[in-house]
């Protein structure tokens, strides 16, 4: 609807609204016309604030414009939303409503975002189903044109935005019928034009602003009528009838629940069940929320209503109640105050919260709300859906209560692994069933929070009736488990209904299957009389050259067992879908799929239970061990890891969102099918494997031989070759249950057997053959003490690889190109590291529950990590730095004051410490230990200095030098956070910025950023990005006092290490731009280091370090890569992001490739020239901190920064 009814669409990606923009961009790239026969102009902006600004401008010009957003994105639009509404500019913003980040970020659905903009003056229209989202989108576009008031059309993120559902589509004629073309003409005439000039956006004074604000009131009074009229026209054309407010239920109901959004489905089902039981209940579904339709609400309520419960999907802490509750109460109050009160007695109104962040909202919960309304004293501010054992606000609900399923409906659940194609196959099955049977279908897909080895659960319903159940399946007729390994992780049969069919992909021979099942599964199979069918889909797929893509095999088996379609027809349809999906790419993949489909049924076998083999014991094969974990990890994190977070009560949660570090190690996801095995004989001790491992799953330790005293038999080791350190041994060890099997370590391993070149020092081997031995070895390996950090220089690969990583086992994509950099900074500076992390991939694998890879060393020190937002990360990091410096200043002042008491030599040593290198940092840390001992002596009550001593004790650690890093992706650094980043670089402060540059918005699914190179295809650049990549480093270099480096660890690991160390050491701002290979590049991730090499060899990504210098003849820029030796085309053609354009638009591809070659040549020429440029750091001799001893606040050398106001002494 939005595409068809718009001329201009401004975009910015944010989950879960991104797919709306992506579809628009795809259609525009394909030349699909809108209702008016034109292809809308799609423009991606640098942020939602930018998208709203562009929207505003397009509207002022008198064009039809729209955008899509959610959550923080919507909040960034607020200032423009006030303007647009204030100027009566007709527009629609479609919102996939999502939680606003508070104590934590959440990408899931609730109304906290839309409720935050209800004062902007936009009309607000709510859709509760997928069909409604289409229909009311049209109503919104129609009504905004007629009313001139902008509309915010919203529906629940994921539950509605991502639900697959049969809908009846609207045609262009329907749209044309509702859209008032005269209103469009008037809009155009009102648009800015020098042919009839006027001025807008004036500034007004107290004399008239208020009046002006009131002048628009009549427009708002018209809205309910206009929306109702559009709804009526829609009903005339389609038979689908909507109201501003809809009532469902008993005409004589005494209890009514009011709500809006997808939760309506569950309430409606509950109303039907309760009515069937003779209860007088009903519900009000609100569509128009602003302007609030008070009159329609009152009219819709049965006159018999006694009690009303209003449900809000948002929380307004400190408010009297949530917004909808307050509106309903006020509307009733006003109605009862009127001349003819609608009710004999005012109904009793209560309100409560449900469903925050897509929390399940089921008929059982809805029933709890109705039940409580029937109680003698209904709860006033309750929550339903969680166990609130803190404020005791929750309603208890009966999880067994369900709405009866319609006759002929099938509910199916599919447990899959992310990469196996399960979700895609299920979407495809739903379509086949819908097309083949005319049945209504519903598909909803649940993912875990990992980007590699993640579990997906597909919930599919097929039935003769429209499906209103907006909650997960709890009584499945059919369950499929697409990966045998999942049986150990989750109870896949928990939601199987008695007598259900269970399809298992099992790699074991049929006669072994039963004994291979975990005991709880066998028990459930017997107790629920579940029919077990197995197929070795892995084998069949492999034989058909399909690799791990088992989807088509499982799909065929599903159709054979579910009998939802005649199996022959289903197979023919699956083949048809295969041809449709892959046919355009050629015949081979089609042939492979067809072969897999044809052999699937022959492999499907029924397995009968062997009851004797069922024991009561729970012999789960889990390798997880929480014995050394903190209480929180044992009692909370472990529950999250077991995927049972739903069971945790409110009291289990930290109220301020702080979680312990170092928890990823407890997950033991065991997702690799092959792991690297070390051959010490060949190893050259280079450390490249450990440096490059994205998951810190391959480790290098150097240790004295005595450490092997208790080693398990045949624990591998070799003599460590080093000039600096003799008599030590070396072991390279894989963490078998944490490795993702990405193969990067093997790819970079340079040590080959003299007799068999393909045998390296590291080789991928099947995990099943090695996991037992390697687990034992890994357990022992962890007990080997870390090497004293001072024994090896850190500026070599070998020296850095030995350092303990304090970033381990992240859930990033296997082979992630970003995480090696983060691991490296954790190795180099981890025990004094503070990180501000922009939202994006790095904040997701860095901090998405259940666990975090950020960890601590044995002393308990490690990176302190926080994510604020996407847009503000540089400023957030600067704030951390400023806060640190404030603490340092306070500590120094206190120490000066206590100098005599703690001993002047110690105080002077602390205050004068330079801490230029790690050794002196360690020495300072020792001094702080002594200081604290002496402070303890001063602390007893009654001591005159007790108070100062206590204050200094709290702040003393700040006197040890810290490294503050601001980390984020290119979407942040080049686009949404660029203004802030620029400002922070200009601040002259001692901060370090690490840009993980994947040249695309990776986390939200590959949208173009200003880091995207010319010629690359990305989301929002479906026809290939036509403009070149921004030289972000230039921003830093321009200031003259910013250290800037461009690195690529796979191309030059030593240069990367050097750059990070120099950045840390540079006392002013530092900017390190790190080339990060990404799954969104369309490459085989196991070869990503080769791609990095080629990126550098071709001049696509030159390496350099810009080290500001005070020397008159200094040349700050050092080029660290050689002149291009291969053409850029050779590099880019190996990546789908570039090569796909050659398929879709060969001419454009050729033209852009030529320009890209020129970009690279020009960049190289320019950098070569810069490398010879003398540039002197301007220093006015004023020191960074007004300290008499002339050092930075933490004792480090002063920033030789250009003068700023802050630094100039009066």
């Amino acid at each position: 609807m939005a595409y068809a009814l718009s001329e201009v669409i401004s975009l910015y990606p944010i989950t879960p609204s991104s797919p709306m923009g992506e579809h628009a961009d795809d259609w525009a790239a394909a030349g699909v016309p809108n209702l008016f026969g034109e292809v809308p102009d799609i423009v991606e902006m640098q942020s939602e604030a930018g998208a709203a600004g562009a929207l505003h401008g397009a509207l002022q010009k008198g064009t039809l414009a729209t955008t899509f957003t959610a959550s923080q994105g919507l909040l960034l639009m607020v200032p423009n939303m006030f303007k647009i509404a204030g100027e009566l500019l007709p527009a629609v913003i479609h919102v996939a409503a999502r939680s606003v980040a508070t104590h934590a970020l959440s990408i899931f659905g609730d109304h906290s975002d839309v409720m935050s903009v209800r004062s902007t003056g936009w009309a607000m229209l709510s859709s509760a189903t997928v069909q409604e989202a289409q229909d009311l989108a049209l109503v919104a576009h129609a009504a905004t044109l007629t009313s001139r008031v902008p509309f915010l059309h919203f529906f629940d993120g994921f539950r509605t935005s991502h639900e697959l559902s049969s809908v009846t589509p609207l045609e262009h004629e329907d749209m044309a019928a509702l859209i008032d073309t005269r209103a469009i003409e008037e809009l155009r005439l009102r648009g800015m034009s020098p042919d009839h000039p006027d001025v807008r956006g004036t500034a007004q004074n107290p004399d008239v602003f208020f009046q002006g604000r009131e002048a628009a009131s009549p427009f708002y009074r018209e809205i309910p009528g206009i929306v109702a009229h559009a709804m009526e026209e829609l009903a005339q054309r389609t038979g689908r009838r909507y109201g501003l407010v809809e009532y469902v239920g008993a005409p004589d109901a005494d209890r009514v629940v009011v709500l809006m959004g997808s939760g309506c489905g569950a309430v409606e089902e509950t109303v039907e069940v309760l009515r069937a039981r003779g209860e007088r209940v009903g519900m009000i579904k609100i569509h128009l929320f602003r302007p609030f339709p008070s009159a329609e609400l009152i009219a819709a309520l049965p006159r018999t209503v006694k009690r009303i419960s209003v449900l809000d999907r948002t929380k307004e802490p400190g408010g009297v109640g949530e917004p909808l509750y307050l509106d309903v109460r006020a509307a009733l109050d006003e109605a009862m105050d009127a001349e003819n009160p609608p009710f004999a007695a005012a109904p009793h109104v209560v309100g409560g919260r449900y469903g925050l962040s897509s929390k399940e909202f089921t008929p059982g919960m809805a029933k709890a709300v109705f039940d409580d309304l029937a109680a003698e004293k209904p709860r006033r501010h309750f929550v339903v859906g969680v166990n609130d054992d803190v404020s005791l606000s929750s309603l208890a609900w009966d999880p067994e209560f369900t709405a009866p399923r319609p006759e002929g409906e099938l509910q199916a659940m599919f447990f899959g692994l992310g990469a196996d194609g399960t979700v895609g196959a299920n979407k495809n099955s739903a379509k086949i069933i819908s097309d083949g049977t005319g049945k209504h279908v519903q598909g909803y897909f649940v993912y875990d929070s990992k980007k590699s080895g993640s579990m997906t659960v597909s919930h599919l319903r097929f039935g003769p009736q429209p499906i209103r159940s907006t909650y997960l399946i709890t009584a499945a007729d059919f369950v499929a488990c697409h990966s045998h390994g999942l049986l150990d992780r989750v109870n896949v049969l928990e939601w199987a209904k008695p007598g259900a069919t269970f399809l298992l992909n099992s790699p074991y021979p049929v006669d072994e299957v039963w004994e291979r099942l975990p005991d709880p599964v066998r028990r459930t199979l017997v107790e629920k009389r579940v029919e077990l069918w197995v197929v070795d889909a892995q084998r069949i797929a492999a034989e058909a050259h399909m690799g791990t893509r088992i989807n088509t095999v499982m799909q065929v088996c599903f159709f054979a067992l579910s009998k939802v379609l005649p199996v022959d027809q289903a197979i023919a349809d699956i083949k048809g879908a295969v041809v449709k999906t892959y046919g355009r790419r050629g015949q081979t993949v089609v042939d492979h799929n067809i072969a897999a489909i044809d052999s699937a049924l022959a492999g499907l076998t029924r397995v009968l239970p062997v009851e004797a083999a069922v024991t009561g014991a729970d012999d789960s094969a889990s390798v997880r061990d929480f014995s050394d974990a903190s209480r929180f990890v044992r009692e909370v994190t472990s529950v999250l890891i077991a995927d049972r977070g739903e069971t945790l009560p409110v009291s289990a949660m930290p109220a301020d969102g702080r979680f312990p570090s170092g928890t990823a190690r407890y997950e033991k996801r065991a997702i690799a099918s092959e792991i690297p095995i070390w051959d010490p004989v060949i190893c050259s001790d280079c450390g490249k494997c450990a440096i490059v491992c994205p998951h810190a799953a391959i480790r290098m330790k150097v240790y004295a031989p005595e450490a092997l005293a208790e080693a398990p038999a045949e624990f591998p080791s070799k003599v460590f070759r080093s000039k600096e350190l003799t008599g030590h041994l070396l072991t390279i060890q894989v963490a078998p249950d944490d490795c993702t099997g990405c193969g990067l370590c093997v790819e970079v391993c340079p040590a080959r057997s003299k007799t068999e070149a393909r045998h390296k020092s590291l080789n991928l081997e099947p995990v099943l053959e090695h996991s037992d031995v390697e687990r034992t070895r890994w357990d022992f390996f962890q007990t080997i003490p870390e090497l004293d950090r001072s024994l090896l220089a850190h500026n070599t690969v070998k020296g850095a690889a030995v350092l303990e990583p304090l970033f381990e086992f992240s859930g990033a994509c296997a082979g992630c190109g970003e995480t090696p950099y983060l691991k490296l900074i954790s190795q180099l500076f981890g025990d004094r590291l503070l990180i501000a992390n922009a939202t994006g991939c790095s904040s997701i694998y860095g901090g998405n529950l259940p666990t975090t890879p950020w960890s601590a060393n044995r002393q308990g020190r490690g990176p302190a990590w926080a994510n604020s937002l996407f847009e503000d990360n540089a400023e957030f990091g600067l704030g951390i730095r400023i806060g640190l410096e404030a603490q340092q200043r306070a500590a120094r002042t206190l120490l000066h004051g206590l100098s005599a008491a703690v001993g002047e030599p110690l105080a002077d040593a602390i205050l004068g410490a330079t801490q230029a290198d790690e050794e002196s940092v360690f020495a300072q840390r020792e001094r702080i230990v002594s200081l604290k001992e002496r402070l303890a002596v001063l602390s007893p009550a009654g001591n005159a200095l007790a108070r100062q001593a206590a204050q200094l004790n709290v702040l003393a650690d700040s006197l040890v030098r810290k490294s503050v890093w601001i980390v984020g992706g290119d979407g942040w650094a080049y686009d949404i956070g660029f203004g802030g980043l620029d400002h922070v670089l200009a601040s002259g402060r001692d901060i370090n910025v690490l840009v993980l540059d994947t040249e695309v918005y990776s986390n939200t699914g590959g949208q173009a950023s200003k880091a995207t190179q010319r010629g690359a295809v990305a989301r929002f650049a479906a026809s290939g990005k036509g403009t070149p990549k921004k030289d972000l480093g230039a921003t830093g270099r321009a200031y003259g006092n910013v250290y800037v480096a461009q690195v690529a660890i796979g191309a030059n690991d030593v240069q990367t290490i050097k750059a990070l160390m120099e950045a840390d050491a540079w006392p002013g701002p530092s900017l390190v731009i790190a080339y990060s290979t990404c799954i969104a590049h369309g490459i085989e991730m196991s070869t990503s280091m080769t791609h990095q090499k080629d990126a550098v060899r071709s001049g696509y990504w030159p390496l350099y370090r810009f080290h500001p210098t005070v020397e008159e003849v200094g040349e700050p820029l050092t080029l660290d890569s050689r002149e291009p030796s291969i053409p850029v085309s050779e590099f880019v053609n190996s990546e789908v992001r570039f090569s796909s354009l050659a398929r879709s638009d060969p001419d454009r591809s050729r033209d852009l490739m030529k320009l890209l070659e020129r970009d690279a040549a020009e960049r190289w020429r320019y950098y070569s020239q810069l490398a010879g440029v003398h540039r002197t750091l301007v220093s006015d001799g004023v020191e960074d901190e007004p300290e008499e001893d002339g050092e930075g606040a933490d004792g480090s050398a002063p920033a030789p920064a250009v003068a700023t106001d802050r630094e100039v002494k009066p």
Binding site: T422, G424, Y447, R585, T588, A1080, R1143
Partner: protein, 343 residues
Amino acid sequence: MNPSAVDLTTSYLGLTLRSPLIASPSPLTGDVDSARRLAVAGVGALVLPSLFEEEIVAEELSLTAALEAGAGVNPEATNYFPPVEGATLADRYLANLERIKSAVDVPVIASLNATSVGAWSRYAELVARAGADAVELNVYRVAANPQFAAADIETADLELIADVCAKAKVPVAVKLSPYYSSMAHFVHQVIGAGAAGLVLFNRFYQPDIDLETMDVECRLQLSTRVELGLPLRWIAMLRPQVPDSVSLAATSGVHEGKDAAKALAVGANAVMMTSELLRLGPERVAGVETELRSWLAEHEYDSAAQLRGSVSRVTAEAGEAFERANYMATLRSWVGVGAGPGR
């Protein structure tokens, strides 16, 4: 004799070419701009780079793998690319062929690099439809499987050739490797299978080893004039054996006008060039043509046709030298360490 008056026209695969100099498959023939430059510089025809079956399959598989790698894994990103539609490698080849065909005024020959029966006859039809004037079929294989006898391989190759010749609507030249045990016998069978001409020989790029990394490396190595000997010998021997209607083209080691003259002398209808053009650019064709014309004029030939076949196994004064005898002569031509061959 005025060099510009020498008639260079030749008949190749039933096509009349203005010059026997043909640009054989290389990046130059695959790009519209350089193809146009080749035509302007005077090539008689050009052969497009080969369409490789393996490449088509590999592209399809890697594209599918890359697109599916991140799909359906994460709630925030159902996948990472806009729909990748459009032309397959083969489609793009055909489109490029059409473009080049319309950009040049000389015959355009498509090149297919075949490994299996079936798939190629389809492409042979498609390239003809896209405007190719002829097809050059590369029969390329490394016979490393000990289970197959020489005869098995020849049979398979002939099946493939017959299949393509039957389906192609245009003449087919077969580009052979020099490694058949009985070349003359096999050539006759190739002709029997329907080939309108032979291109002798396929120059194999041999893999190299990088001694630093111990990786196997495939690098393009340009030909040298020394390599001309092999096609010269075989064309000289085959020319009298095969009917006049069957075209023979020499390829490998043609760098100068004199090289072309030699190829014509042994009986080649056409002379293919790549390395020299890659090194010096498309315009080098004009230089080679001038050299050829000058040589012909200096030696008072009216036309290339006059020279063609004048020094074959049958027509040469000591034609037997093309056979085994020349082996002995070559050995005896060595005059001493450091002196090089005695010529």
